[in-house]
C-alpha cells in the first residue's frame, strides 16, 4: 500500500475541470418513500429537490449525519429504486449517456452497469456472495463486459489485482476467509475492473478500523486515478472527506445545504450546519469541549416548515420558519442554502411543492 501517495494537504485543491459534459448532472431530484400499511399513508421525503454536478475525473464528497437521505440519493442516481421508494421528479444524466438514466430499458440499464457505472457500497462486508468464490464474483460481474476468453479474462483480472497490490490467490478464497479490509479491497478491485467512467462509493470505509481505513482510501484514490473515472463518495465522516474529496456537498434532511471545494468547506463554511460539522472535528492541542447540536435530526415523514434545519439552528430568523431557502451561489463554486449566510439567498420556488412532478427548472443557484 502507498498511503502516502496522496498528501492530505492537496485535498480540496480544485483541479481544472476537463472539457466536455460533466460526468453526472442531477437536476431537481426528488425521491420519496410512499407507503401505505394498515390504512396509514406515509410519505418520507428522503431526497427533496437536489441538484448537483460531478465533474470529470473528480471525487465529489457527500456528507451528512445518518438518515439524512445520503444512501437514498445514491440509490436514486444508480437507478436502483424499488418500491416503496419512488422518484417523484427530476433528472439524472451521466456523461456517458445521451439520455436520462430513467429513460433506459432494463436491458440497456443492465448493459451500462459495471461497464460504465459501478458501485462500492456500504456494508461491503456482506456484498460478496458467501457461497461463491471471489473468482466467480468476478465472472458474474465483469465477464460479459470484457469480451475476452476465459484465460485472457483471468489474466486481465490478475493483472488488475496486482496493480492494486492484491495477490492473485484471493480469487480462490471464499468471502468468509478474507478479513474485513481484504474484502473491501477485493470489492474495490471488482468495482474498477471494467474501468467504469463513474463510481459510486457509499461509506466504503465506515466498518473498517482506522489503519485499514487509510490503506483502503489510498487504494480507492489510486484506482480512481489509474482508470480516470469520476466518483461520488458518500460518508458521514468529515475526516475521510478531508482526505479524499475534491469538492464537498453537505446534506441535511434530504436537501443539499452547502457545496464548495473541500478546502473551502473546512476553512470558510457558510451554512451553520456545515460550521457545526467542521467545528466538531478534533484538533490537535484543543482543550475545550465540543458543542453538540441540540435536538434530533427531523423526522422526514413530517419535516419542519421552511428551512429544515431551523429547529436546531443557532441563527434562526423568522423567514427560516416560513420558506425554504434556495441553494444560491455566493462565491465561485460555493453554493449555500441559508438566509443567514447572505441577503442574496431567497426562498426557493420549488422546494415546498410536494409530490407534484415539477417542470425542469433553471439551473438552481444563479445570483439574480
Amino acid at each position: 500500500m502507498h498511503p502516502s501517495r496522496r498528501d492530505n494537504g492537496s485535498a480540496g485543491e480544485p483541479r481544472p475541470a476537463p472539457e466536455g459534459p460533466p460526468a453526472l448532472s442531477v437536476d431537481n431530484l426528488r425521491a420519496y418513500y410512499l407507503m401505505h400499511y394498515f390504512g396509514v399513508e406515509r410519505e418520507v421525503r428522503a431526497v427533496d429537490d437536489i441538484s448537483l454536478v460531478v465533474r470529470r475525473n473528480e471525487i465529489y464528497g457527500l456528507a451528512g449525519e445518518s438518515s439524512c437521505g445520503k444512501t437514498t440519493f445514491l440509490k436514486t442516481i444508480a437507478a436502483a429504486v424499488r418500491p416503496p421508494l419512488t422518484v417523484v421528479a427530476g433528472s439524472v444524466r451521466y456523461g456517458f449517456l445521451d439520455r436520462d438514466i430513467y429513460a433506459l430499458s432494463p436491458a440497456e440499464l443492465s448493459a451500462i452497469r459495471w461497464k460504465h457505472l459501478s458501485y462500492i457500497t456500504q456494508g461491503s462486508m456482506n456484498v460478496l456472495n458467501p457461497v461463491r468464490r471471489v473468482r466467480q464474483s468476478f465472472i458474474d460481474f465483469a465477464y460479459r463486459h470484457m469480451r475476452l476468453h476465459r484465460r485472457a479474462f483471468f489474466a486481465a483480472v490478475e493483472q488488475h489485482l496486482r496493480r492494486l497490490h492484491l495477490a492473485a490467490n484471493v480469487l480462490d478464497a471464499y468471502p468468509h476467509e478474507l478479513s474485513g479490509g481484504m474484502k473491501q479491497r477485493v470489492t474495490i478491485a471488482l468495482a474498477t475492473i471494467c474501468r467504469p467512467e463513474f463510481i459510486i462509493a457509499d461509506e466504503p470505509t465506515t466498518a473498517l478500523d482506522v489503519v485499514v481505513q487509510k490503506d483502503v482510501l489510498a487504494m480507492i484514490r489510486e484506482a480512481q486515478q489509474q482508470i480516470g473515472s469520476s466518483m461520488l463518495f458518500v460518508t458521514h465522516d468529515m475526516t475521510v472527506h478531508a482526505n479524499i474529496a475534491d469538492r464537498l456537498g453537505i446534506m441535511y434532511a434530504g436537501r443539499l445545504v452547502e457545496e464548495a471545494p473541500t478546502a473551502e468547506i473546512f476553512t470558510k463554511p457558510m451554512h451553520p450546519y456545515t460550521a457545526h460539522l467542521v467545528a466538531s472535528l478534533p484538533r490537535i492541542g484543543e482543550q475545550s469541549r465540543k458543542k453538540s447540536l441540540s435536538g434530533a435530526p427531523p423526522n422526514l415523514a413530517a419535516p419542519p416548515s421552511g428551512c429544515r434545519f431551523h429547529p436546531r439552528c443557532p441563527l434562526t430568523m423568522d423567514v427560516c420558519r416560513e420558506a425554504s431557502p434556495a441553494l444560491t451561489t455566493l462565491a465561485p463554486g460555493h453554493r449555500v442554502a441559508c438566509y443567514a449566510a447572505s441577503p442574496l439567498v431567497k426562498p426557493s420556488a420549488t422546494a415546498e411543492r410536494a409530490a407534484v412532478p415539477t417542470p425542469r427548472a433553471e439551473p438552481v443557484g444563479l445570483v439574480q
Binding site: L34, M35, H36, Y37, F38, G39, P83, P84, L85, T86
Partner: protein, 287 residues
C-alpha cells in the same frame, strides 16, 4: 391492544378470515351447552336420517344427532388442543428463556436436549404409550404425553429472542439495579417473548388436534369421549361411507379443516404483525 386487533381485522384479510372461521368454530363448541341430548349418549335419535330441518347435519348409525354430537366433539377437541398447547408453551418458555438468558454450558446442554426432541418422531412414541396404557388411557395422560413432545421447536425460537434480549441495555440495567434472574426473565423478557408465544400457540393447537384426530381415528385414545377424531372413528366402524351416511364423516372433517385453516391464518397474520421484516416487505409502493 384493542386498536391492534381492530387494525388487524380491518386491514389484514388473512386475520379477518381466520377470526371468522375460529369464531364459527368456537360458537359451534359453545352450542354444546344448549344441546338437547347429553354428551355421547346413543340411541336418542332415529338412525341414518339425512340432513333435514329437524336434524341439520343428519343423524348417524348410533342413533345420535350429528350436529349436537359435533358440538361436543369440537369442544373437547379444542379444549384438548388448548391444554396441550398451554402445557408445552410452559416447557418451551422455561427452556427457551433460561437457555437464552443464562447461555454457556446450560444453554448447550438444554439445546442438545432440545435438538434431540426435535428429531423424535412423536407418533411411534404415542402409540407406544397407548399400547402400554390401553384402557387406562385418558384424556389427561395423552395431553401430558403430547405436551412433552411438542415444545422443542418453539423453545428454540424463544431462545433466539431471549439471546438478543440479553445484550440489550435494559437487561444490563436490570442486573445493575439488583433484580434476580427469575425477576428479569419474568418481568423484563417475558413481555417481549409473549407475542411470539401467542403465534406459536395457534400452530401448536393445530398440531395437537391433528395428532389427537389421528390417534382417535385408529382407536388409540379413549374412544368414549366424543372428539372430532372419535366421531370419525365411529363412522369408520360403521362403514358410514359405504353405507352412504356421508354426513357423518363430511361434517366433522369439514369442521376440523375449518379449525386448522382458521388457526393457521391467525398465526400467520400475527407473525407478520410481529415481524418487522415481513411488515416492511408488505408495505407496497404506490409507484
Amino acid at each position: 391492544m384493542f386498536r391492534i386487533l381492530k387494525d388487524l381485522l380491518r386491514y389484514n384479510r388473512e386475520f379477518a378470515l381466520g377470526a371468522i372461521l375460529i369464531l364459527l368454530v368456537v360458537a359451534m363448541s359453545l352450542a354444546s351447552f344448549f344441546s338437547p341430548y347429553p354428551s355421547g349418549l346413543q340411541y336418542v335419535a332415529p338412525f341414518d336420517v339425512p340432513p333435514s330441518w329437524g336434524h341439520p347435519f343428519g343423524t348417524n348409525s348410533r342413533g345420535q344427532d350429528v350436529f349436537w354430537e359435533l358440538t361436543f366433539a369440537i369442544r373437547n377437541s379444542l379444549l384438548f388442543g388448548i391444554t396441550v398447547a398451554l402445557l408445552s408453551r410452559l416447557i418451551a418458555l422455561v427452556v427457551g428463556l433460561t437457555s437464552g438468558y443464562i447461555g454457556g454450558v446450560v444453554d448447550r446442554i438444554l439445546m442438545s436436549i432440545n435438538d434431540t426432541f426435535v428429531v423424535f418422531p412423536p407418533f411411534p412414541i404415542l402409540v407406544l404409550v397407548y399400547f402400554i396404557f390401553k384402557d387406562h388411557m385418558s384424556w389427561a395422560l395423552l395431553a401430558v404425553a403430547m405436551a412433552s413432545l411438542g415444545w422443542p421447536y418453539d423453545a428454540r425460537l424463544i431462545r433466539s429472542v431471549a439471546l438478543s434480549l440479553r445484550t440489550r441495555e435494559f437487561t444490563t440495567q436490570s442486573i445493575f439495579s439488583g433484580m434476580s434472574t427469575r425477576q428479569i426473565l419474568i418481568e423484563e423478557h417475558l413481555p417481549y417473548v409473549l407475542p411470539i408465544v401467542f403465534a406459536t400457540t395457534m400452530n401448536n393447537i393445530n398440531w395437537s388436534i391433528g395428532l389427537e384426530v389421528t390417534l382417535s381415528v385408529i382407536g388409540f385414545t379413549n374412544i368414549e369421549t366424543p372428539t372430532i377424531g372419535t366421531m370419525i372413528y365411529w363412522a369408520n366402524q360403521h362403514t358410514a361411507l359405504v353405507a352412504g351416511v356421508w354426513w357423518w364423516i363430511a361434517f366433522p372433517v369439514g369442521l376440523v379443516i375449518m379449525t386448522f385453516i382458521g388457526l393457521y391464518l391467525l398465526s400467520v397474520s400475527m407473525n407478520e404483525y410481529i415481524d418487522p421484516r415481513s411488515r416492511l416487505s408488505r408495505m407496497g409502493g404506490s409507484a
